[in-house]
C-alpha cells in the first residue's frame, strides 16, 4: 500500500505542476506555434498528396481517396476520447482544475471529428458497399462514441455550479472509455461489414506504400491540428476564468483593479 501511496502522490505532483494557470499559459504560448504551423503544413501536404499524387485503388478507383480524411478522423475520434477519459480520471482522483477545463474543451472538438469520420465513412459506403449505413459492430460502436461525446458536452455545461457538472461529466467520460476497446476490436471479435485494420502494430500494412505515406502524413497533420485546437481553446478558457475572477474581485472591491497580473489580462472594453 505504501508503494501505491507514493505512486499516487508522485503522479499528483507531476500533474499539479501544470495546475498553476500561469505556468500552463506560459507553456501553452510556447507550444502553440509548434503545433499550429506543422499541423497546417502536414495536413495540406498530405491532402494534396493523397488527392492528386497517390494512385487510385484497383477496385475502389478514386473513392479510395476518402480514406485520407476518414482514417485520421477515426483515429482522432478514439484518441480524443482517450484524452477525455484521462482528464476525467485526473479530475475524479486528483481534483485537477486544469483537467476539468481540458475536458470542457476536448468534447466539442472530438464530437466534430467523430462526425467527420461518420460522414466520410457513409459517403464511401454508398458507392462501395451499396449502402449509406449498416448496423454492424464497428459502425454502431463509433456512433455510440459520438453520442458519448454529445452527452459529455451537454452534461458538463448542465449545472449552474460548474464543479458539479465537472464531476458528473468526469464519471460519464470515464465510464464511456469502455467503448474504446469495443471500437478497436469490433472488427476482430465479430464479423462486420467494415473491413479489418490495414495498419497494425504486429504485421506489415496491407496497403501499398504509395498510399501509406500520404495517409501517415495526413494522420500526423490532423493529430497536431487536433492538439493545436484543444490547446488554443484551453488557453482561451484559462484566460477567461482569470478574467472572470479579476472582474468579480474588482466588483467586490468597488471598482478598483485587482492585482497587476490580473489587471494586464483585462482589456477595458471587455468589462462591458
Amino acid at each position: 500500500m505504501n508503494a501505491t501511496h507514493s505512486l499516487v502522490a508522485r503522479t499528483g505532483t507531476f500533474f499539479h505542476r501544470y495546475a498553476n494557470p500561469g505556468r500552463f499559459l506560459r507553456l501553452g504560448a510556447r507550444l502553440q506555434p509548434w503545433l499550429t504551423w506543422p499541423a497546417l503544413m502536414l495536413s495540406v501536404t498530405g491532402i494534396i498528396w493523397g488527392l492528386f499524387f497517390s494512385p487510385a485503388d484497383w477496385q475502389q478507383g478514386d473513392s479510395v481517396r476518402i480514406m485520407y480524411v476518414h482514417v485520421p478522423a477515426a483515429w482522432l475520434a478514439s484518441s480524443g476520447y482517450a484524452g477525455l477519459a484521462v482528464c476525467s480520471l485526473l479530475s475524479l482522483v486528483w481534483r485537477h482544475p486544469l483537467a476539468d477545463l481540458a475536458a470542457v474543451e476536448i468534447g466539442p472538438v472530438g464530437a466534430a471529428i467523430t462526425a467527420v469520420c461518420l460522414a466520410t465513412g457513409s459517403l464511401w459506403g454508398k458507392p462501395m458497399w451499396g449502402t449509406w449505413w449498416v448496423w454492424d459492430a464497428r459502425l454502431t460502436s463509433v456512433l455510440v462514441l459520438f453520442f458519448l461525446y454529445l452527452g459529455h458536452i451537454a452534461l458538463i455545461r448542465a449545472f449552474d455550479e460548474p464543479q458539479r457538472g465537472y464531476r458528473a461529466a468526469a464519471i460519464l467520460g470515464l465510464a464511456g472509455a469502455i467503448d474504446l476497446p469495443i471500437i478497436k476490436f469490433s472488427v476482430q471479435w465479430w464479423n462486420t461489414l467494415h473491413q479489418p485494420d490495414s495498419i497494425t502494430l504486429t504485421g506489415a500494412p496491407t496497403m501499398s506504400t504509395a498510399m501509406l505515406w500520404p495517409l501517415l502524413v495526413c494522420t500526423l497533420g490532423f493529430t497536431l491540428g487536433f492538439a493545436a485546437i484543444v490547446v488554443a481553446r484551453l488557453r482561451a478558457a484559462v484566460m477567461e476564468s482569470r478574467i472572470r475572477a479579476a472582474l468579480s474581485a474588482r466588483r467586490g472591491r468597488g471598482g478598483t483593479v485587482a492585482g497587476d497580473a490580473h489587471g494586464r489580462d483585462v482589456p477595458d472594453g471587455a468589462v462591458a
Partner: protein, 178 residues
C-alpha cells in the same frame, strides 16, 4: 490510505466492474452482434423460412449467372466460406464492387431446400489497398487471380511502384523481381 488513493481504487473498481458487465453482456448477445452468418452455419442450422438473415461469404468464381426477367436483371451466384456453398438469387442492380472472388453480404431468406432469396446485396471490402497498375501487373505475371481469393502477402507488392507495374504490364516476359 489517503483520500486520493482511495478515490483511485474506487475509480479502478468501478471501471473493472463496468468493464466486466459490458464484456458479459456483449458475449451473451454475441450471436446478435455478428453482422452475417457463414454458409456453413446456414447449412448446419437452417433459419426459419420467414426470418430475414444475412449471409456472408465469397462469390465462387465462375458461378455468376445473369438473366433478365422482364425488365429486372436477375443474378444467381454461389456464396462460400470454404466449407459450404449457398446459391443466392437476387433481383436488382448489384453494387460496383460485386465480382467473382469478392466477399459479399446478402440479406434475405433461406428456403428449406437450401436456396437463398436476397432482397439486398452488399459488397464487402477487405483490408487490402492496391494501386490499379500493381493489381494488373500481379494478374499478368500470374501471381494472383482476384477471382480465386485474397491478394498475396503485402510484403511482395507493397513497394512496387506504379511506374514499375506499368513497365511489367508492357513487357510480361520481364517479371518483377521482388
Amino acid at each position: 490510505m489517503t483520500r486520493k488513493s482511495r478515490r483511485l481504487w474506487l475509480a479502478c473498481a468501478c471501471l473493472i466492474g463496468l468493464g466486466s458487465a459490458t464484456a458479459l453482456t456483449l458475449s451473451a448477445f454475441s450471436s446478435n452482434i455478428v453482422f452475417f452468418m457463414a454458409p456453413s452455419q446456414i447449412r448446419a442450422k437452417p433459419p426459419a423460412p420467414d426470418r430475414t438473415v444475412r449471409l456472408g461469404g465469397m462469390v465462387v468464381a465462375g458461378s455468376v449467372r445473369r438473366q433478365t426477367v422482364g425488365d429486372t436483371p436477375v443474378a444467381l451466384f454461389d456464396v462460400t466460406d470454404g466449407q459450404a456453398a449457398v446459391t443466392v438469387r437476387y433481383e436488382g442492380i448489384l453494387p460496383d464492387l460485386f465480382r467473382e472472388g469478392q466477399s459479399v453480404v446478402a440479406i434475405g431468406t433461406a428456403s428449406p431446400d437450401g436456396a437463398f432469396r436476397a432482397s439486398e446485396v452488399l459488397a464487402k471490402h477487405d483490408e487490402t489497398y492496391m494501386p490499379k497498375e500493381v493489381a494488373e501487373a500481379l494478374r499478368r505475371s500470374g501471381k494472383w487471380d482476384p477471382r480465386y481469393g485474397k491478394a498475396p502477402d503485402a510484403a511482395s507488392w507493397d513497394t512496387m511502384t506504379v511506374r514499375n507495374a506499368r513497365k511489367d504490364a508492357a513487357g510480361p516476359q520481364q517479371q518483377h523481381g521482388s
